[in-house]
Every structure is written in C-alpha cells, then in structure tokens.
C-alpha cells in the first residue's frame, strides 16, 4: 500500500497528521504530504485508511 497527499486539494486540516503521524509530515504552513516515499507498512494500513476517511478535502489518496 502507498499513501499520498494531493497538494492541490490539501488545505492544512492536519487530520491525517494527527491520526497517523508515522505516515505524514507537515510543512511550516501546516500543509501535509506523505512521509518519505509514502510506502505504508502492513501494520499501519489501518491508520492510512483512517487518515483517508477523515480528510475533509478528500486529499489523502491510497494506492494499493
């Protein structure tokens, strides 16, 4: 599983970062992006799905 943040859609709600800090990083303005290469270890797959299900902007994208 891979996760990424669509920078065009992200408005800095930081719901993904607060739910799954292992998978996302935020910049100085509070906008999020995926950590490193976005690869989700199996034990964090549920957290990745949670981040996706809580983004009001539908900016978190999961690629299997």
């Amino acid at each position: 599983m891979k996760v990424r943040v669509d920078p065009e859609k992200c408005q800095g709600h930081n719901r993904c970062y607060s739910l799954a800090p292992e998978l996302f990083v935020v910049d100085d303005y509070g906008y999020a992006r995926e950590a490193e290469d976005g690869i989700v270890p199996p034990e964090l797959e549920e957290k990745a799905k949670l981040a996706q299900a809580n983004c009001p902007e539908h900016a978190v994208i999961i690629e299997d």
Binding site: Q11, G12, H13, N14, R15, Y17, S18, L19, V26, D27, D28, Y29, G30, L50, A53, N54, C55, P56, E57, H58
Partner: protein
C-alpha cells in the same frame, strides 16, 4: 431586539431565525426539517439570508470563490465603524483578513498567518494551556460546584490568545467583553458592535506603537517584521489580524470546550468511557467538533449562483451552515449521536476549502488539553439545578452558563 418582540417562526424553511432561543439551544431538529423539505432555506429576518443544510451543498458553496465572497463574513449585515469625533468612516465593514478577503489577496494574507498557527506552533502553547487549565480548576475543585462555561471553558481561549499576543493574561476578561460586544450582543445590537469595534481599534493602535518602539518576541512584533505583497505589513493589517485572533479564536473555542463538557455532563456513559479510555480523546474531540460545531460563517453572493436547484441572487447573504452539514445523515450515519470512536469523520467544523480555519490546530490543542485536564481532575460531574444551561447562537453556538456539581476535593 429581544426575542419577545419578534414574531414567532411559522415555517423554518421560509422564516428561520438564527437567534431564536430554540435555534441556539437545539438546532438539530430544525436542520433536519429544513434538509428534508427544502433543503436550502431562505428568511427575510436579520437582513435576509440563505441557509443550506446538506453537507454536499455547503461543501460546494465553500468552493464558489469569489462568487460567494468572504468580503462579508458576519451572519448579519455590516455596520460601518465611524469615528464619533470626526465622522470619518474607519471601516465600511468588518475587516479581518484573511477571513474577510478573497484571492488573490486572501492567498497572501493566509500564507503569512499560517506560519504562526501550524501544528508545531500550536504545540508550543500546550504547556501554558495545561498549567492554566489546572489553575482554573484549583479555583473551584474544593467547592463541589462550578459554572463550567464561565469559570473554565470561557477562560481558556482568551488567556491563550493574550499569552500569544504578549499581553497579560488578565486581558482575557477584556477580550471576552469585546468578542461578545462584536459577535454575540453586537450581532443584534449595532450600537454595541460599533462602540466595541472602536475600543478595539484604539487598543491595538497603542499596542502596535509600543512594539514599534520596543520590539519583543510576541506575535505582534513578529507580524510587524513580515512582508505582505512585497511591502512591510502596515498597521491596519496588524490591527485587523489582532481583531481576527479575537473574533475567530475566543468564543469559538470556548463554545467547543463548553459544549463537550455539557455533553459529558448529560451523557454519563460517554464520560465514564473517556475517563477509562483517555486514548480516545483525539477522536472524541473530532466527534464533539462535528456534533457541536460552533461556527456559521457568512458569504456575500457577488453574482447569481445556483446550488441544488436553488438560485441565490447576487447581493444575497449566505450562511455557511457547517454545523448542519455535520449532521447530514447522507454523510454521517446516526448523525445526531456522539460516537466517541467514530472512524469516518470528514466533519467541516473548521470549514472547508481555502478558508479552512487558520487557528484549527490551536483550537484542537486547547480542546484536548482542557478536556483531558478536566476529566483527570473531576472525573464525575453532573448538571446542577441551581441555574439553567443557556446557549448563545447565530454566528457562534455554545453554552454560556453551565452549572455543574461534583464531589469536592
């Protein structure tokens, strides 16, 4: 105008009253009625406005920029600020960028502000907030009763903002008076709104002059060193930003903290569960934000727009009903029930799109700290019948008195 002098609401889809006591205390059934029959209501009250109630409609409207402009973001028509001595129009309408602006200026003003309100920046205020929450509870823990709205929820955001602005935390009381003067009492009383607005302009003018003469490490000094659109930030922008911090960062967060405590006082199972499982708090906070979303924002239609078959004519005021969107059963199963561990929660309590609340990270931190300290110190509490629970509403909804009793410690 007092409620008693206003005609009763006949049909909420055509005659809603956002300051009606029932709309303030329990708006859920009203939104459900409008959503089912309408779903975008219109009323001539308070200067006239349109009120969407469906999640998808609100989300679509939030992205209609600048057709639905933020130049008027208050839920009632603006009142100009006029200097009583010279007659000069100081502000023709509330000016608090970025909340009161559209792109391209909005983009610049927002980018400037966001740096001061990132999650990392909000975290630096956590130790102060925690210490403050404990200090507030020290005042009433041995009495066995308190007004959790007045003595706790209401005290935290203004003091955190005062701290951030480099002011004495006792300024918090003045901030409460100002915010109520502009938004709560002032919403239905233009004279109070203008008088309060003038006091605020004068105060910030003096504070800015002091920082220019003697800069320190607070937010105002930082802002004075920044640039906007390639020029140094001017006094009007600093004043307006300080006003924004007060109108956007005080009664909003205090309403959220108060509503969450009200919920826990009236739902003992949820209270016990949160005491037993503190790890649920972050998810629970998002759920409180969803069900008890405090903020409705205004927009001004600058052209005719059509949403869900309803045409809203240019010049109309639109109320961005984020609280009702968050109770839409098409998006949230069992929408009126607080589910502390709700996993799918794309709530829009902080708005959606380019005007997402810039202070959301600070607000979330304050809520988590306030609730965690309250539950730790007072794990069991109930509504006290010494007085009524009262709710304010309109632009910002939340409890304004919340008498509780508990075992004294």
């Amino acid at each position: 105008m007092a409620t008693a002098e206003r005609p009763p609401v006949d049909d909420w889809t055509t005659d809603y009253d956002i300051f009606h006591p029932t709309y303030c205390s329990d708006p859920g059934p009203i939104w459900a009625d409008i959503r089912q029959r309408c779903p975008i209501a219109h009323s001539e009250r308070w200067g006239g406005s349109y009120l969407p109630t469906r999640y998808d409609d609100v989300a679509e409207m939030a992205r209609m920029v600048p057709a639905l402009s933020s130049q008027e973001f208050i839920v009632v028509p603006p009142v100009p600020l006029i200097d009583p001595e010279t007659g000069e129009v100081l502000r023709s309408r509330p000016y608090a960028p970025p909340i009161s602006s559209d792109p391209p200026f909005h983009t610049e003003a927002r980018r400037l502000l966001l740096q001061a309100f990132s999650p990392q920046a909000a975290a630096t205020f956590e130790p102060y907030t925690r210490e403050l929450a404990h200090r507030l509870i020290d005042e009433f823990a041995d009495k066995g009763q308190c007004d959790a709205a007045v003595q706790f929820a209401q005290q935290i955001p203004p003091k955190v903002i005062a701290h951030l602005l480099g002011l004495d935390e006792n300024m918090g009381d003045t901030f409460i008076e100002w915010v109520r003067g502009v938004l709560e009492i002032g919403a239905t009383n233009p004279e109070v709104r203008v008088a309060t607005g003038l006091k605020m302009l004068k105060f910030w003018g003096e504070e800015i002059a002091r920082r220019r003469a003697e800069p320190n490490n607070d937010f105002i000094s930082w802002l004075l060193e920044q640039e906007l659109e390639g020029k140094p930030v001017d006094d009007i922008h600093v004043t307006s930003t300080c006003n924004l911090l007060l109108v956007a960062g005080i009664d909003t967060t205090w309403s959220s903290i108060g509503a969450a405590i009200w919920h826990l006082a009236t739902h003992p199972d949820d209270r016990r569960r949160l005491v037993d499982e503190p790890a649920l708090l972050p998810t629970a906070v998002e759920e409180f934000l969803r069900v008890y979303s405090p903020v409705t924002m205004g927009r001004l239609a600058t052209e005719d727009v059509t949403v869900n078959g309803v045409t809203i004519p240019a010049g109309s005021r639109v109320l961005m009903n984020f609280p009702a969107a968050n109770r839409d059963p098409e998006v949230f199963p069992d929408p009126d029930t607080v589910i502390l561990d709700r996993t799918h929660n794309r709530h829009v309590a902080f708005g959606i799109g380019i005007h997402r609340c810039a202070g959301s990270n600070l607000a979330r931190m304050e809520m988590q700290v306030a609730l965690s300290v309250f539950l730790e110190r007072i794990p069991e509490f109930h509504l006290d019948d010494s007085g009524p629970v009262t709710w304010a509403g309109g632009q910002v909804r939340g409890p304004r008195s919340l008498p509780l009793h508990f075992t004294a410690k």
